[in-house]
Amino acid sequence: MILLNYIAAFFLIALGMYTIVTKYNLVKTVIGLSIADYGVNLLLISIGFNPGGTAPIFTWSELDYNSFFVDPVPQALTLTSIVIGACVTAMSLALVIKLEEQYGTIDTRKIRRLRG
């Protein structure tokens, strides 16, 4: 089961990269970044997953050697990563709006004043 998660995660990352590389629409580029980000989140959460484990919320007295729970560290990482992903999307969309204002287009092939 978990293998499927990994395959899906790397598929999403690859799909995101593919979108960024091949799509000439700025909004699609932003979507590509997000897709790759979702892939990373899925990867992170799958790494911490233990089949049958409970949520990692214990007090010291409850914790003993029989407790079986999923790894909390990747969950923390995922939370951080989600926040960062949201920031990336917000900022890049803001830049897309500005670009559209200045260049009158959102086609990457036409937004290339800086080159050479």
Binding site: K23, L26, D71, K98, L99
Partner: protein, 638 residues
């Protein structure tokens, strides 16, 4: 009293050095409406950060301690690192000091440089965020925290690139930087996740303990991901176009941070993963990877710089070219090489900072950085000209400035490596490094002619010298350029050799955090042996005596005031010679320089021009292709 003593213990200084910057950023965001409050807050936090880093020199570099600092006193449970850690060895501190100095000078410069922009509050908030990110990244002892800090600094850098969003190409540059920078960050995160999956730890020291004995396909792929991820932060080839775009648009004070500090944090990341985490630098193939990328960066970027006609864009390409020197020297994996590379890293921060500030001064006064529109500013901005020339001669490696001292070491290191390893390829690297150096000189001859010398365009007649605050900031950099050039032995003894030695003592790094470092791979450092001699102070003394002698002779002869009379008005003998044509403005533009050189390489230049197409998809493709190649390489050789 005890509490105070505890709070002021140097163990806490690393976190203070990071926190003051972030605190400054948040306080300015909250209370920075008033200009004076804002400036005081910004100056206070950068000064405090500089002082805390300077105070760490004594324990970390002179006494050789490694500070392992656990946040919230959570350390190791069941053999695994639980808390978030800072770990400061001489290598971290070296980069932190570099960052703190550049941040300080650039902050002082900003006060007057940014005074004509609106939204200064946002500027300082982002600026301090960027600085805090860099500081946090180099002092962190935790791979995930490095990622967080990398994200913070990427974000702040992108926002600051777009800060003057009405400037030509600013938003475009920021968007490209954001896309590729975020791809790089994603690579770092995936690499971190894969390492975590294999070792169940994020602590750098523990990773260094576990990873080398645990090499499998996943960790090898993680290496490639981390390497390319940090590569995007250092802007090494193939990410150099982003640097060029970003520098061209960003305010000069931010360019100083991006080129002087942000790229260094990328180099720091690469040193950490290759020397510490994977301990793979002993492999000839890994050395090849670093040296190859370094040499290509060095050469490609210097030729790209020759083709530019925008002052700041040109400087940006040179920046990556110099980073290529650093990476090449680091990749040699000898004590001499690493020490030389770190020395060059210091020098690059200093002279490139100086040059960017000079470019900023020109932009501030004239409103343009186009080499074809400038000229003859030496008569209007004499101090800026002298400071710029110091920077230009430093980066071109002209003795006795600092660029020469470190390049001299790099040539020796590469050549020595070639002789010791018997590999003629390293010899080629020496030749490339020497040629790059002379091409750098050519490029700066072009800049000094088309900006500061030559003819003054009529529309620049009213230009004035910049304010004293900006000159003061440039003066600090210029002074440091001269000092580090004249006393190379002091720099190597007190800064670069301890840092290089730290990179070769992985075991101590692991054990400082309480893990078992006995399995660490020992890399042979080689010796510090110079094949030549260079005594800058004595040379300068002799030159001064000679110059004095010539000057006295000249003044006694025909260099007196009578023959150099100034009554120029209207007298045609003081006009320039135009071969019978009527006098008009005829400055040779930056584009037309070095035609004789470019003509022979026209195929190469037009190929490069087509390659740097400016389309973000292409740059993204390069990133993916680079990742694929490095991954293939590391799967085969690691």
């Amino acid at each position: 009293m005890n509490l105070l003593g505890n709070v002021l213990s140097y163990q806490h200084f690393p976190i203070y050095a990071i926190m003051v910057l972030f605190m400054g950023s948040f306080l300015i965001a909250a209370f920075g409406e008033n200009r004076r409050v804002r400036n005081i807050l910004a100056l206070l936090s950068i000064t405090a950060s500089l002082i805390f880093s300077l105070l760490l020199i004594n324990p970390v570099i002179l006494r050789g301690e490694i500070i392992g600092y656990w946040m919230g006193a959570r350390s190791i449970a069941g053999g695994y690192a639980i808390g978030i850690a800072l770990e400061v060895d001489a290598l971290s501190l070296f980069f932190a000091l570099l960052a703190a100095c550049a941040i300080f000078v650039s902050g002082v410069y900003s006060i007057q440089y940014m005074s004509r922009d609106d939204n200064e509050k946002e500027y300082y908030t982002l600026y301090l965020l960027l600085c805090g990110g860099v500081m946090g990244m180099v002092l962190s002892g935790d791979l995930f925290n490095m990622f967080i800090m990398v994200e913070i600094l990427t974000f702040a850098a992108v926002a600051l690139t777009a800060f003057r969003n009405t400037a030509r190409g600013a938003v475009e540059a920021a968007f490209k930087y954001l896309v590729v920078g975020c791809m790089g960050s994603t690579f770092i995160l995936v690499g971190t996740a894969m390492l975590y999956a294999q070792t169940h730890t994020l602590n750098l020291a523990q990773l260094a303990q576990l990873v080398p004995g645990n090499m499998n396909t996943a960790t090898k792929a993680a290496f490639a991901l981390l390497f390319v991820g940090f590569g995007t932060k250092a802007f090494i080839v193939p990410f150099h176009p982003l640097a060029a775009d970003a520098h061209g648009a960003a305010p000069a004070s931010v360019s100083v941070i991006i080129s002087g500090v942000l790229t260094k944090s990328g180099i720091y990341g690469i040193i950490r993963i290759t020397y510490f985490l994977f301990q793979s630098m002993g492999l000839g193939t890994m050395q090849f990877l670093l040296v190859f990328i370094g040499s290509v960066s060095m050469f490609v970027c210097v030729t790209m710089a020759l083709a530019q006609h925008d002052f700041k864009r040109l400087l940006a390409f040179h920046s990556i070219s110099q980073i290529g020197y650093v990476l090449t020297a680091v990749g040699l994996c000898t004590a001499l090489g690493l020490s030389a590379g770190l020395y060059h890293a210091i020098n690059h921060t200093l002279f490139k900072g100086l040059l960017f500030l000079a470019a900023g001064a020109v932009l501030h006064e004239t409103g343009t950085t186009d080499l074809n529109k400038l000229g003859g500013l030496a008569r209007k901005m004499p101090h800026t000209t002298v400071l710029f020339l110091i920077g230009a001669l430093s980066i071109s490696g002209v003795p006795p400035f600092n660029g020469f001292a470190s390049k001299w070491l790099i040539y020796q290191a590469t050549y020595q490596k070639a002789v010791e390893s018997g590999n003629i390829g390293f010899l080629l690297v020496t030749v490339i490094a020497l040629i790059t150096s002379v091409l750098t000189l050519a490029s700066f001859v072009k800049v000094s002619h088309s900006v500061f010398f030559g003819q003054l365009p009529p529309e620049l007649e009213k230009v004035k010298e910049v304010s004293w605050g900006m000159r003061f900031a440039m003066g600090i950099f210029a002074l440091l350029c001269i000092v580090t050039g004249l006393f190379p032995n002091l720099v190597t003894t007190y800064l670069t050799e301890p840092a290089a030695a730290a990179a070769f003592s992985v075991q101590r790094y692991i054990e400082a955090m309480g893990f078992d470092g006995s399995a660490a791979v020992e890399i042979l450092a080689g010796s510090f042996r110079y094949a030549g001699v260079w005594e800058p102070v004595s040379w300068l003394l002799v030159l001064c005596i000679a110059l004095l002698a010539v000057t006295i002779a000249a003044l006694a002869g025909r260099y007196d005031n009578v023959s150099l009379c100034r009554t120029a008005a209207g007298d045609s003998k003081y006009q320039l010679f135009y071969g019978g044509e009527e006098q008009s403005f005829s400055q040779l533009g930056g584009d037309d320089m070095f035609w004789g050189f470019k003509h022979n390489w026209r195929g190469y230049f037009s190929f490069m021009h087509r390659l740097h197409s400016g389309i973000v998809n292409d740059y993204a493709l390069w990133a993916v292709a680079d990742l694929a190649l490095v991954m293939l390489f590391s799967l085969i050789v690691l």
